[in-house]
């Protein structure tokens, strides 16, 4: 038995004896604070209502996910860990944090309670607050992973209509949907707008014998469906030279699978986030897409054919 435990109990009993009744003294303070907090809460709810972004779109890989602000520090902290370590840190860091928090009363055990009498723990607490604040601030300031691009509203509307009309009952996009009609991400992007328009108005007129029903669409609906179809590109094949072009020009800074440098981002899954057109433009001159990019422009360094080839190669990575 710790000698000061008994001592504390006795001293506390005395202090309690001399204290004031919970009701009304403590309750009064609690209620005042509660009313104040409620007022602020109502004001915020009224003047700054909760927002609602567009409907979840699993195919929109350009979206920049951001966590709730109080998780931001964690995401920022993870950036200090390169590549494979990040995965471990993502679990280890919060895990250790929680463990330390639970351990506090068992590590700091003496009778001293005043913050000035416990410089180590007070310092640790202040450092924790400062670290949280600094990381959160850095997180707020840090550039988005995907440069914001205007999503074409016509394409988005077309995609919604596609879902609403249950086109996926017969057609596949991205491997999901039925097999009665053709897989649209493979073929539709290559048709002309004119062809698509006529097709949507009357499938039989361009594809005699087509099993697709006439939909009686409004002109506006046809337009957004065409925009959606045109936004899909069939995957184009790259040549055998592409991996070599990458190895010679890019691998010094970029990883692909296990091989490659650390200076630039790992590109192993770039195909899930970027299409060929974006990659091509980026390789030609990064500064047009990301002004502060440290990567050199390759237009002039590589031929247009080589850039096209490497862009096709990269857009297939991770798919």
């Amino acid at each position: 038995m710790n000698p000061w435990h008994e001592d504390y109990k006795r001293r506390y009993a005395q202090l309690k004896e001399n204290g004031k009744s919970f009701f009304p003294h403590t309750v009064f303070k609690d209620v005042c604070v509660a009313l104040l907090v409620l007022t602020v809460l109502f004001a915020l709810a009224y003047y700054r209502p909760a927002e609602l972004e567009p409907l979840a779109d699993p195919t929109d890989t350009h979206y920049n996910p951001r966590p709730e602000w109080y998780f931001l520090f964690l995401f920022q902290a993870l950036k200090f860990f390169p590549g494979n370590l990040e995965a471990v840190a993502a679990i280890l860091l919060p895990g250790l944090g929680v463990l330390l928090l639970m351990g506090v009363p068992f590590l700091d055990r003496g009778p001293k309670r005043h913050p000035f009498d416990r410089p180590l723990w007070t310092g640790l607490g202040l450092a924790g607050i400062a670290g949280f604040a600094a990381l959160t601030w850095a997180g707020v300031r840090s550039p988005l992973t995907n440069p914001t691009e205007e999503a074409d509203p016509q394409v988005a509307a077309g995609r919604r209509l596609y879902d609403q009309m249950s086109c996926a009952y017969c057609h596949k996009i991205g491997g999901k949907g039925g097999a009665v009609g053709p897989a649209l991400d493979k073929v539709a992007g290559d048709e002309t707008e004119e062809w698509l328009t006529r097709h949507f108005k009357d499938p039989q007129s361009v594809t005699p014998g087509s099993a697709m029903p006439k939909m009686n669409l409004l002109d506006d609906e046809v337009k957004i469906l065409v925009a959606y179809m045109k936004s899909m590109h069939a995957e184009e094949p790259f040549t055998k030279a592409a991996p070599k072009i990458f190895a010679d020009n890019c691998a010094a800074c970029h990883k692909l699978g296990k091989e490659g440098g650390e200076a630039g981002p790992d590109l192993s899954f770039i195909g899930t986030a970027r299409d060929k057109a974006f990659i091509k433009k980026y390789v030609e001159d990064p500064s047009t897409s990301k002004p502060d990019s440290a990567m050199p422009a390759f237009k002039g360094q590589l031929t247009d054919v080589q850039i096209e080839d490497v862009a096709r190669y990269l857009s297939s990575q991770g798919r």
């Binding site: 309690k16 001399n18 009744s21 604070v33 209502p49 609602l52 005043h114």
Partner: protein
């Protein structure tokens, strides 16, 4: 008339012990904490009040919300646009979520810097850490429910991180998502956690936490220890 009320009162007291419960809970003494320091002791009850707000507004939202990918988004839009005071109720629940985290942490900081977790209040602290984790669990599961872009992609990131845990990661991610990608099973799981499991666990743990607070008595404001004690 007065006799009658008195008789009713003593009837209730005799069957429920109301008067003794009142004395034990409401007339227990608290060591005096003056001024600003006294205000710091209100943070715990403020957290509890916000939890009540979340429970009430959450109930109201649940009366119109539909936890399926086909209808979740539209039901939230409906709450915003058409339900009486729906926008305010959703606003309260939204801000209340942040407030809950902020006040739980502020309360924890007051306990931390005052060393109130020391003997005999270690278990109270542990229950507190459990509550903090539950609050974060609410935030993680609630974020997905509107099924908008932010909801969807933040949860993709969150469950992917969970999936990176060594050894059991894939298993955890699978339990959370319930499907290969994310879809209807993910949403129903998050919803069930958010409105059934977490509230029950939290209410229970708050009960334990408060019982311990009353049992040990609230700590007195710390004083500087006198000079150097050898």
């Amino acid at each position: 008339m007065k006799d009658c009320a008195l008789a009713a009162y003593s009837w209730v007291c005799e069957r429920t012990g109301l008067d003794q419960v009142w004395t034990a809970l409401m007339e227990r003494h608290i060591p005096e904490a003056k001024g600003w320091v006294g205000l710091l002791y209100t943070l715990g009850s403020a957290t509890m009040m916000i939890f009540t707000v979340q429970a009430v507004t959450g109930f109201l939202l649940a009366t119109n919300y539909v936890p399926s990918p086909d209808h979740a988004y539209d039901s939230v839009r409906y709450i915003d646009a058409a339900v009486l005071f729906g926008r305010v109720v959703r606003g309260l629940h939204h801000w209340g979520a942040s407030f809950m985290v902020v006040f739980a942490v502020l309360h924890m900081l007051r306990v931390y810097f005052m060393g109130s977790y020391k003997y005999p209040r270690e278990a109270t602290w542990l229950a507190g850490v459990g509550l903090l984790l539950l609050v974060l669990g609410f935030s993680f599961t609630g974020y997905l429910l509107p099924w908008d872009q932010k909801a969807y992609w933040a949860t993709v990131v969150g469950t992917t991180i969970a999936g990176q845990t060594p050894v059991v990661g894939a298993w955890i991610a699978n339990i959370l998502r319930g499907t290969d990608g994310m879809g209807a099973p993910t949403l129903s799981r998050f919803y069930a956690l958010h409105v059934l499991a977490l509230p029950a666990l939290t209410a229970g743990l708050i009960g334990v936490h408060l019982f311990l607070v009353v049992w040990h008595g609230i700590s007195e404001p710390p004083k500087r220890s006198p000079g150097k004690v050898p």
